[in-house]
């Protein structure tokens, strides 16, 4: 191990600081390191104390005893279970009571240049930035989320799920982690989760809503070893997915509800939601994912559709 390291030299009396870049060698000890610092700073080496990771190092400590890795700043580790090599440590915070891992909110940052919020023009210290530099303050972003929740205007964008786009006109950047939505408060967040799940169930063939009148929970059923029955993970009601009865009454294969839905709807080419057209032109604006498509071609709305399929 050898190479350059950056060290911070601080005068304890005046608090003055400066950075130094120094060539080091694995077979050096701390005494030799302080000699090198003396050469560069003209501070007598016996007045220098070396602190590393919060610990004062003795003059005889060898450089190779320290976990100084090349510039990557990653700490190499070995896994005792699988013995895989070239692993690096990853640090996470977790709650000791509920075991939940803390998520890093990557869209929240400090307002370093004290710029104006694109919604209210105020200059606030904590801001949201979805990676496009259109910044909005915490308050405005929360209001934006709550108002979007109120009319459930979230857009379905896999793999992020139901999310929201940048508040700036014409900007399509979206929130990539819905943990950010906790800013709305616990009850609004729960409402978001419930509504988003319900929407997702609508567009997915493996989604089902619990028929128990007191429950109504939406969930995904496991496609493995399927016998056509599912148990609601919330109220534990077990039912036949086809007839939604506790004791199956499916006598034959024809399910009138399903065949009626299949006969009267077409599925959105983007999100697969069953869509009925009850009037108007062939131009469909999907209320689930926001896609514009042609009911006649069942593809994205094109110029030809504009001319030929406007009215049947």
């Amino acid at each position: 191990m050898s190479g350059a390291i950056t060290i911070l030299v601080q005068d304890r009396k005046t608090g003055q600081r400066r950075n130094l870049t120094l060539e080091i060698d694995a077979d050096e000890n701390i005494a030799e390191l302080t000699k090198n610092v003396e050469k560069l700073t003209h501070i007598p080496s016996d007045e220098l104390e070396v602190v590393f990771c919060g610990k004062k190092l003795s003059k005889s400590t060898m450089m190779k005893e320290l976990s100084l890795t090349p510039a990557t700043k990653r700490i190499p580790v070995t896994c005792e279970d699988c013995c895989a090599s070239n692993l690096f440590a990853e640090f996470k915070f977790k709650c000791l009571t509920c075991n939940d891992l803390a998520a890093a909110l990557t869209h929240v940052r400090g307002n370093w240049q004290m710029e104006e919020c694109c919604v209210c023009d105020n200059k606030e210290k904590i801001i949201f930035d979805l990676g496009c530099n259109h910044i909005s303050c915490k308050n405005c972003f929360r209001e934006y989320l709550l108002s979007t929740l109120n009319s459930f205007n979230f857009i379905n964008k896999p793999p992020y799920g139901y999310t929201i786009s940048c508040p700036y006109q014409g900007c399509n950047k979206v929130v990539k982690d819905v943990h950010h939505f906790h800013i709305m408060g616990q009850s609004a967040y729960s409402e978001y989760q419930r509504k988003a799940t319900e929407r997702l169930i609508l567009v997915d063939d493996e989604g089902v809503t619990c028929p128990n009148a007191l429950c109504g929970q939406s969930f995904f059923w496991e496609p493995y070893d399927d016998d056509g029955r599912s148990q609601c993970p919330d109220c534990f009601y077990t039912f036949c997915r086809k007839c939604t009865e506790k004791e199956c009454v499916c006598q034959s294969d024809d399910d009138l509800t399903k065949s009626t839905i299949d006969a009267t709807t077409r599925r959105c080419p983007n999100c697969n939601v069953a869509t009925e057209r009850n009037g108007g032109c062939s131009h469909i604006h999907c209320t689930s994912c926001g896609m514009d498509w042609c009911f006649k071609c069942v593809t994205a709305w094109r110029e030809e559709c504009q001319w030929d399929h406007w009215f049947n």
Partner: protein, 153 residues
């Protein structure tokens, strides 16, 4: 609260921006949520008159879009007899809270100056616009002379 502050700022900015395409930006004396703006399109057949537009802001502005309608009658493929029109940036699903009224006015002006007959509200007017443009221009010009407001000097 936030609606009031932002509307006051926008009203000030709009009155002092010096753009010639609209004038007489006013709000009701007792209600900051109701504005009128006089639009001055610069293309024929609408450049001989001025068109009054009413803007109603919701209480939760700017998180919900304003409602904009024509108060002056206009003969246009994209505006109906009641002054309603379809402008994507002020629809509920496309609205962005950072959009300012000035941008809405500019978008509306460009729709007036450049009709979109492929997205018509009045199918008969759109058809006339495409198939008999001369007749359309004549009717629209007469309509403007008869119903539009005078342009400010």
């Amino acid at each position: 609260m936030s609606a009031t502050r932002r509307l006051q700022k926008e009203l000030g900015d709009l009155k002092n921006c010096g753009v010639k395409a609209y004038e007489n930006v006013e709000c009701e004396e007792t209600n900051l949520l109701k504005w009128t703006v006089l639009l001055l399109p610069d293309k024929e057949p609408y450049n001989k008159g001025a068109f009054k537009v009413g803007i109603t802001f919701p209480v939760d502005y700017p998180f919900k879009p304003p409602k904009v309608t024509f108060e002056t009658k206009i003969y246009h493929p994209n505006v109906d007899e009641e002054g309603k029109f379809c402008l994507p940036i002020v629809t509920a699903e496309n609205w962005k809270p950072a959009t300012k009224t000035e941008q809405v006015m500019m978008a509306l002006l460009s729709l007036i100056n450049e009709p979109e007959p492929s997205h018509p509200i009045r199918a008969d007017v759109a058809e006339e616009f495409q198939k008999d443009n001369k007749k359309f221009m004549k009717t629209a010009e007469e309509h403007t002379r008869k119903h539009a407001e005078k342009r400010p000097e």
